[in-house]
Every structure is written in structure tokens, then in C-alpha cells.
């Protein structure tokens, strides 16, 4: 019988030897939205040994335009994305061991899991989780591949511990309040393109062909026809708190985590970012109005409805999410609308 991987084995940088390595690898995908769906399907079709996929959300109708693993049935049943993903992935390739986790991937979870994996694929929608992934990657020596997209724009970078700069070197501060897929929209080709960059790099890492890694921060805009690939090696910082000589992994510490609290008897969750922020409420109002939302704003706070929830954003960065007592549901809404 001709192997189902014959075409991949014919590709000489992989070959039969590379396929063996792929089939004995264990990859963690964090997030099962658009990027996570695409990456999971590609890796499962490529025949990795084991896949762990984690997501805290459930399937909604607005996901179906781009999240390739899900069907109308999943949206009707409000199935958790991790479970719906596992079902579909198992139907695609039953020889891959798939572990689905309906969970909020935060510090405790990631620290407990990290050392098991050969590679972590970022398919999250927020920088808070990415900074945790970054510190975990450095602490346990596991490479990770950043990918993100909004509108027709996408970006990706491959982080190899002890070799490349880390995310903290590149960012210096954690971005707050950027555009998100739920505020600025997203087209599916931007997703596929980022997935293609991430999975090409993933395959190189899994077969051990590190010399072929891109080594550059890549970004593109498919609508404006722009492309850029920049060598960011010079941004690696000797004194970086996440990857430098005297590192402290700041994003694994309690002080740097976003705090949540369920407000008793109010069906409300409060989310408080680690540092006091100065949110630009006026800019946020403009974006939300463009989406056709009804927004109320005064100098201290802004309030808007995302049925059946109401979100109240304070100038100091705190957010109240009314209409839920579920912390991970609240965090999901927070990252979807506020970046």
C-alpha cells in the first residue's frame, strides 16, 4: 500500500527519515480559533504523532467564515472549540493521538505542560497569553511560533530559545487595546497565509532542519499588496528579563498576571490588567461605533452591549463584564473586544 504520506516523503527536505520524526513528535497548539483550526488540520494531515489543542471558547456562527474545522452543527450545539476540533481532526486522521483541553491556558497550565512538547504553536488572540508562552518557552527550552492576523494583515516569527531574540526583546511593552478580529474584522486568506508561515516553520523544526528556518519577522497585507521580512537579530537584549543573562521570567509571576474576580450576586466578572493602564476611551468608542454598537461614554468609563453581555471599560484599564459568572468566558470576551 502506498503510504498516505508518500507525497510529503517525496519532498526531499523531509523524506522518509523526516516523516519518522514528524510521526514521533508532540505539538501543543494554544487556541482553536482561526489560526488554531488551520494549524491543527495541517499538522494532523502531515501525520504528527500527538497533538494537544487547548481553547476556552465555544463555536459561534461568526466563526464559520474562517475557522475551518467547524460546522453549522457545532455552532448550533455551542460545542467547545477544543472538542469540536478533536472530533473533526480525528475524522481527518485517526492515527494521530489528539488531546483536547477545554481550558484557559494560563501560567499554571502552561508551566505544568510545557516540557512535554517539541514545539508550541501560538494561535491565541492576545498578548497576555503570548508573554506567558514566551517565558515558558525560555524556561523549558521549547521553541514557539508566533502568528497573528487582523483584517487582511498578518505577521509571524519563530522563537528559538538561546538563539533568536524573544518576544519580550521585540515588544519591550505589552500592547494594549489594539485592533482585534472582533473589532476590525478578518478575511480568511490572511488566516491561511499566517498558518502557512507557521506550519512551514513547524515542519522544519520537527524534522530538525533548523538551518532552513526563515530567521526573519515576516508581515504582509493581502489587500494592500504589501510584504516585508525583517531580520530582528539585533533586537536580542542581553538584559532581557525573559531571555537575558539574569532572567526572572516576569510573566510567570503573580503580579504580572491579569486578575479576575467574580462579583458576588451581580452576575459580573471584573478583569484587572497587571499594570494600571490609561485606556484611550475615545478611540475605543470610535471603533465600536463603526461596528454599529451603541456606546455610552463619560470621562471615567465606557459601556457597550455585546448581547447578552454588557462590557464596562474604565480609564484605568479595569473592565466589568456583566451577564456572566464564568471567568474564562469573561476573559474570552475581554480579549476579543479589547485586544
Amino acid at each position: 500500500m502506498i503510504s498516505r504520506y508518500s507525497r510529503q516523503e517525496l519532498f526531499s527536505p523531509i523524506g522518509k527519515n523526516g516523516q519518522k520524526k514528524i510521526s514521533s513528535s508532540h505539538v501543543l497548539i494554544i487556541g482553536a480559533g482561526a489560526l488554531g483550526s488551520g494549524s491543527a488540520e495541517a499538522l494532523v494531515r502531515a501525520g504528527i504523532g500527538r497533538l494537544t489543542i487547548v481553547d476556552r471558547d465555544y463555536v459561534e456562527w461568526s466563526n464559520l467564515q474562517r475557522q475551518q474545522l467547524y460546522s453549522e452543527e457545532d455552532a448550533k450545539n455551542r460545542l467547545p472549540k477544543a472538542i469540536a476540533a478533536k472530533n473533526r481532526l480525528h475524522a481527518i486522521n485517526s492515527s494521530v493521538e489528539i488531546e483536547a483541553m477545554v481550558a484557559d491556558a494560563s501560567v499554571q497550565e502552561l508551566e505544568a505542560w510545557a516540557s512535554k512538547f517539541d514545539l508550541i504553536i501560538d494561535a491565541t488572540d492576545n498578548f497576555e497569553t503570548r508573554m506567558i508562552i514566551n517565558d515558558v518557552s525560555q524556561k523549558y527550552g521549547v521553541p514557539w511560533i508566533y502568528g497573528a492576523c487582523v483584517g487582511s494583515y498578518g505577521i509571524s516569527y519563530t522563537f528559538i530559545p538561546e538563539k533568536t531574540p524573544c518576544l519580550a526583546c521585540l515588544l519591550e511593552t505589552v500592547p494594549l487595546g489594539g485592533l482585534t478580529c472582533d473589532t476590525a474584522g478578518i478575511i480568511s486568506p490572511a488566516v491561511s497565509m499566517v498558518v502557512s508561515y507557521q506550519i512551514s516553520e513547524a515542519l522544519k523544526i520537527l524534522v530538525g532542519d533548523l538551518d532552513s528556518l526563515r530567521g526573519k519577522l515576516v508581515s504582509f497585507d493581502l489587500w494592500k499588496n504589501q510584504f516585508s521580512a525583517v531580520n530582528v537579530d539585533s533586537l536580542k537584549k542581553e538584559d532581557c528579563p525573559s531571555c537575558g543573562a539574569t532572567r526572572s521570567y516576569p510573566f510567570l509571576s503573580f503580579e504580572n498576571q491579569t486578575k479576575t474576580a467574580v462579583l458576588c450576586g451581580r452576575n459580573t466578572v471584573q478583569i484587572r490588567p497587571p499594570q494600571t493602564a490609561d485606556r484611550d476611551l475615545e478611540a475605543l468608542e470610535t471603533i465600536l461605533i463603526q461596528q454599529g454598537r451603541v456606546v455610552q461614554r463619560n470621562p471615567f468609563l465606557l459601556s457597550f452591549q455585546v448581547d447578552p453581555y454588557r462590557m464596562v471599560v474604565f480609564k484605568d484599564g479595569r473592565v466589568l463584564i456583566h451577564g456572566t459568572k464564568d471567568v474564562s468566558e469573561a476573559k474570552s470576551l475581554y480579549h476579543r473586544y479589547l485586544g
Binding site: G31, G33, A34, L35, G36, D122, A123, T124, D125, N126, F127, R130, G147, A148, C149, V150, Y153, G154, I155, L170, L171, E172, T173, P175, G178, L179, T180, C181, A184, I186, V194, L217, S219, N225, Q226, F227, S228, V230, N231, V232, S234, L235, D280, H335, G339
Partner: protein, 67 residues
Amino acid sequence: MKVTLNGESVQLPEHITFVSDVLKHYNIHEKIVVVEVNGKILSRLEHENTRLADNDRIEIVHFVGGG
């Protein structure tokens, strides 16, 4: 001035002198960006005092979070 921005030839308006002016012009000055001019990556402080000239090759990458 005429520069190459992310691979495309672009005519920048008269008032633009520094890299930070370009970021403001494209309304990305409040985003986290990596800027490369003629093959050299600039630190964030250098955005304010790096003068641009005709035919400069500029690459601007901004970080986004969606996925």
C-alpha cells in the same frame, strides 16, 4: 520625498522629516512597531531622530494580536 516602503514606491508628503513622522502619517505611531531603514533596525528612541532621505528603503512591521 520618494522612498520605498515595504517594497512599494511611495511619495511622502513635504512635512515628513523623521521616521516618527512616517509612523504618525500612517497612524501607527501608537502601535508597537519594528522599523528598518536601509537594512538597519532602529531602536524605539531612534524613531524620533532618524532623518529620512530620498530613495531610502523603509520596512515597517506592526504587531497585531488577533488569531
